[in-house]
Every structure is written in structure tokens, then in C-alpha cells.
């Protein structure tokens, strides 16, 4: 039904969206201005930009967490609605329920789906094992390392089998080694069962390593400055050492540099 290679059927359509952020105190900020973006099913797209460019805001709008005030966002043809399990989200700071064990966290969405108890247990266990947390089912999040917390959060989100994955700088709070391990794992998961991923990051290498397309955003107010295709061989585990990889990083870094300077 969907054809990602042809690209004619779009799963997510963002059309001239602007968004004003109104803090409880202080001035209003125009976070996004006239942003348009189309994403095909099973596509891995990175939203790249300096901090404060509104890339997370765009993600929250697609997730239905913030109201679309100007422009339109359509998911599979219908205007974006309230948040739901079709759009899984992973946050930078994990957002695990601290009062629930790893198992109970992963089971949370499955309970809401109304699955029978044994099915919940079975499915939670298989996702916990998939992210390598076997043996930590009964641990509370406070007892886990950052990397393990993010694995648990990923398992919780994937367990409800979302049609798309919204990732808000998911590896931004992890140390460098853990981050690169998690990147490899995410890529492996995505290759095994491709779902649509929107991945917010300010790390150019990360964006090139993971995504098929990179939407480079400008500093405040956020606009899509350029969309760069990344056609790299994902099956090569040493891709990040290849000249093509370096060239792509350079190309995108040149686009981002100006914005990063402006955002300082």
C-alpha cells in the first residue's frame, strides 16, 4: 500500500507550520516559521539544528502534544490528533515512570491496549530482552545507568508497536561510548523492522550515521533550511570511516555552521 521508494504516498505531511512559544513569564518566541516537510512510511529522517531552533517543538506538534496553531500537519491523510500509541516517543531524559519497575514500565502501554495479562507479560519480556535488559526486570529506574534507562524507555515505546517513532535527542544525555552503542542498536532494530523514525539531534555525525534524509533547520525562528539525502551503505559497520561519510558530514556541517554561530 505504501511505497517508500516511489515516495508518492506520504505518511506525515507538515504544511507551512508556524508555532509561537508563550512562556508563563517573559516574551513570546516564534519557535517555528513556515515549516514544511514530508515523510514517507518507514523513512528515517533526522531533524538537525542548533539548540533553540524549534526542532523539538516540531516533533511535539507531530506527536500531538502541542496544538497546531498555524498551518497543518497530517498523519496518513488525517489532521494530527491527540497523542496516541500510533506515535511512540522517546525523550532525552528517558521519562520512565520512576515508581514502576522496568517490567511495569514496559507493560504500561500494553495494559492500555487491553491485552490479556499473559500476553502483556510475554510481550514485555521479549522487548526487555531485545534491548538487553534481561535480569533487570524488577529494578526501578533509579537503579539503572543512563544507557539502561534509555534502553528501557525504548522497549516501552516499541512494545506497543507504534507506526512511527518520534525521538527527541534520545542519546543526548548519554556518555560517548554508550551513545555510539545505542546508535548501532537503534540502527539494527530499524533495519530488522523498519518503521518511520523522526530523530531530533544537534549532532551532525549522528544524523548522517542514522538517517536517510537530514532536514537542516535554521536558528530561531526555526525553518527548514535544506533537506539532504544521505545514501550510505548501512550494512557496513565501519561506514563512519569511509570518505563518503566524511564528505556527507562536511556537506551538512557547512549548512549548520552558520546557524550554530547565529544561535550562540
Amino acid at each position: 500500500m505504501f511505497d517508500s521508494s516511489g515516495g508518492s504516498v506520504k505518511q506525515i505531511v507538515v504544511e507551512s507550520v508556524s508555532h509561537t512559544y508563550r512562556p508563563a513569564r517573559g516574551r513570546e518566541v516564534l519557535a517555528l516559521e513556515d515549516v514544511s516537510l514530508e515523510i514517507a512510511p518507514r523513512e528515517f529522517v533526522a531533524l538537525l539544528g542548533p539548540s533553540g531552533c524549534g526542532k523539538s517543538t516540531l516533533l511535539y506538534l507531530i506527536g500531538g502534544f502541542l496544538p497546531v496553531e498555524k498551518g497543518a500537519i497530517r498523519i496518513e491523510g488525517a489532521p494530527v490528533g491527540a497523542p496516541g500509541p500510533d506515535r511512540g516517543i522517546v525523550f532525552q531524559h528517558f521519562a520512565l515512570f520512576p515508581w514502576k519497575s522496568v517490567r511495569a514500565n514496559v507493560r504500561y502501554g500494553l495494559e492500555k491496549m487491553g491485552l490479556p495479562r499473559e500476553e502483556q507479560e510475554r510481550r514485555a519480556q521479549s522487548y526487555i530482552e531485545m534491548v538487553g535488559l534481561k535480569g533487570f526486570e524488577d529494578s526501578y529506574p533509579s537503579a539503572l545507568s543512563g544507557g539502561m534507562k534509555q534502553r528501557a524507555a525504548l522497549a516501552r515505546t516499541l512494545a506497543v508497536d507504534p507506526k512511527m517513532l518520534l525521538m527527541d535527542e534520545p542519546f543526548g544525555a548519554l556518555d560517548a561510548q554508550t551513545r555510539s552503542l545505542m546508535q548501532a542498536e537503534l540502527l539494527a532494530i530499524w533495519q530488522r523492522s523498519p518503521t518511520t523514525v523522526i530523530f531530533v539531534t544537534h549532532d551532525v555525525q549522528e544524523a548522517v550515521l542514522l538517517s536517510q534524509r537530514v532536514a537542516v533547520m535554521s536558528a530561531r525562528p526555526g525553518k527548514v533550511k535544506a533537506i539532504v539525502d544521505v545514501k550510505l551503505d548501512r550494512s557496513d559497520p565501519h561506514i563512519y570511516r569511509s570518505p563518503e561519510f566524511a564528505a556527507k558530514v562536511d556537506e551538512i556541517w557547512n549548512l549548520v555552521r552558520e546557524e550554530a554561530i547565529k544561535a550562540q
Binding site: 502534544f65 497523542p83 496516541g84 511512540g88 525523550f91 521519562a95 515505546t157
Partner: protein
């Protein structure tokens, strides 16, 4: 042994009275007080009045916790509730609740009702404020995670906002617990026909000072014991934080 200082105080108390440093009219010896406590327990006065007091305190506190917690969470979650109830809570919070003793007696008489109402009114606000602050501190990302995992808005209130508020709420309840004892005893001292506070006043007026001190000790011990029990319970409920 953490409570060694308490034991030391008990010894000093007994010592200064036995040595005649303090007149027995002002401070009966600890041994006399314990003897009096034993007599009060054997004759049943301690039980009938103790049960009455615990019932009033327990009911008042229970109502305060339930109503206060619900009110606090609702205030944090719906702006309209906050706008309406918030100023009332702020205005009433600093008021000394013992001033309400005559009012509650006027409304509900000398029995249990007036004490329960007083404790309920006095203890509700600290619980409300604690629940409010706790619920307000619930993380946006947690609320959003729950929503994206299929929880509706009301469900999030129970699944995320309430447990987020719990640590703060439990602190507020501890304050309320201490306050409940204060209000209970002072209201019973002033207007009551039974209860531990009433017993203290009755024995004091009758000049039976060792028995009066015995009841004061019992009240102090009850307060201490309730607080310890409460803390132990709190630790179990918040085991996930360690």
C-alpha cells in the same frame, strides 16, 4: 541506641524529684507517674478516653487526607479549580486553627462531631498544599509518555500526576498528623466530656497531678509512636526512590 538521651532525661527527672530538688507539687516523680498510669489503665479510664480520642483524631485526619489530596491534585490539574480554591487556601492557611474550636462546638456540640470537624479543617490545608505542589512538579515528559502510550487525560491524573505528587503529599500528611494531635488535645481540654485531653484537664483540676502527668506522657508517647509508624510506612511507599 538512639534514644539514650530520652532515658537520661527520665533518670534525671526521677533523680531531681527523689533528691527533693523540685517540689512534688510541681513535678511528681516519674515512678509515681508510671504507677498512676498503671492504675488508669487498670481501671479503664485510659482506654475509654484513649479510644474516643483516637477515633476523633483518626476520622478527622482521614477526611483531611482524602479531601485535601483530591483538592490539591485538582487544583494543580485544572486552572479553573486553582483560580477558585487557590486564594481561599492561601487566605486560610496561616489562620491558627485552634480559633475554630468554639465555632465547631457551636455547630456540632460537645461530642465527636465538633472534634472531627476541627481536625478535618485544620489538617486539610497542609495536605492540600503538599498535594498541589507535588502534582505541579509532575514532569511534562512523564505526562506525555503516558498519553502516547494510550492513557487518556483522566487516566494520566491517576497514573502519573498522583504518584508524582506522592513524596510531597506524604510530607504534608506528616505535618497534618502532628497538627491533628495538637488540635485534638487542645479541643478536648477546652470542651469535651471524654478523651485524653479531657482526662488531662479533669485530673489537673482535681489536683491528681501524678495521674495528670501520666496522661500527658501517654499522649506524648502516642504522638511519637504514630510518627514513627508513619515514617516506616512512608519509606515502604517510596522504596522506588532509593
Amino acid at each position: 541506641m538512639r534514644y539514650l538521651p530520652l532515658l537520661l532525661c527520665a533518670l534525671i527527672w526521677e533523680g531531681i524529684v527523689q533528691l527533693g530538688l523540685v517540689s512534688r507539687d510541681v513535678l511528681p516523680s516519674l515512678s509515681d507517674v508510671l504507677k498512676a498510669a498503671w492504675m488508669l489503665a487498670r481501671e479503664g479510664d485510659l482506654w475509654t478516653n484513649g479510644v474516643a480520642s483516637l477515633y476523633r483524631g483518626g476520622m478527622g485526619l482521614l477526611l483531611a487526607i482524602v479531601v485535601g489530596a483530591v483538592l490539591g491534585v485538582l487544583m494543580a490539574w485544572w486552572r479553573a479549580v486553582d483560580a477558585f480554591v487557590g486564594p481561599l487556601v492561601e487566605a486560610l492557611y496561616p489562620m491558627p486553627k485552634s480559633a475554630l474550636i468554639p465555632v465547631t462546638v457551636l455547630w456540632l456540640g460537645f461530642g465527636d462531631g465538633s472534634k472531627i470537624l476541627l481536625i478535618f479543617l485544620g489538617c486539610m490545608l497542609p495536605v492540600t498544599l503538599a498535594a498541589y505542589n507535588g502534582a505541579r512538579s509532575s514532569e511534562q515528559a512523564l505526562v506525555w509518555s503516558a498519553r502516547s502510550l494510550g492513557a487518556g487525560r483522566l487516566r494520566v491524573l491517576w497514573d502519573v500526576v498522583a504518584p508524582s505528587a506522592l513524596p510531597e503529599l506524604l510530607n504534608g500528611v506528616r505535618t497534618a498528623l502532628a497538627l491533628a494531635f495538637v488540635l485534638l488535645v487542645s479541643s478536648e481540654l477546652i470542651v469535651a466530656r471524654k478523651g485524653l485531653g479531657y482526662l488531662i484537664g479533669f485530673l489537673g483540676e482535681g489536683g491528681v497531678y501524678d495521674a495528670m502527668f501520666a496522661v500527658v506522657l501517654v499522649v506524648a508517647f502516642l504522638g511519637f509512636f504514630a510518627d514513627r509508624l508513619y515514617l516506616a510506612g512512608t519509606r515502604r511507599l517510596l522504596a522506588w526512590r532509593e
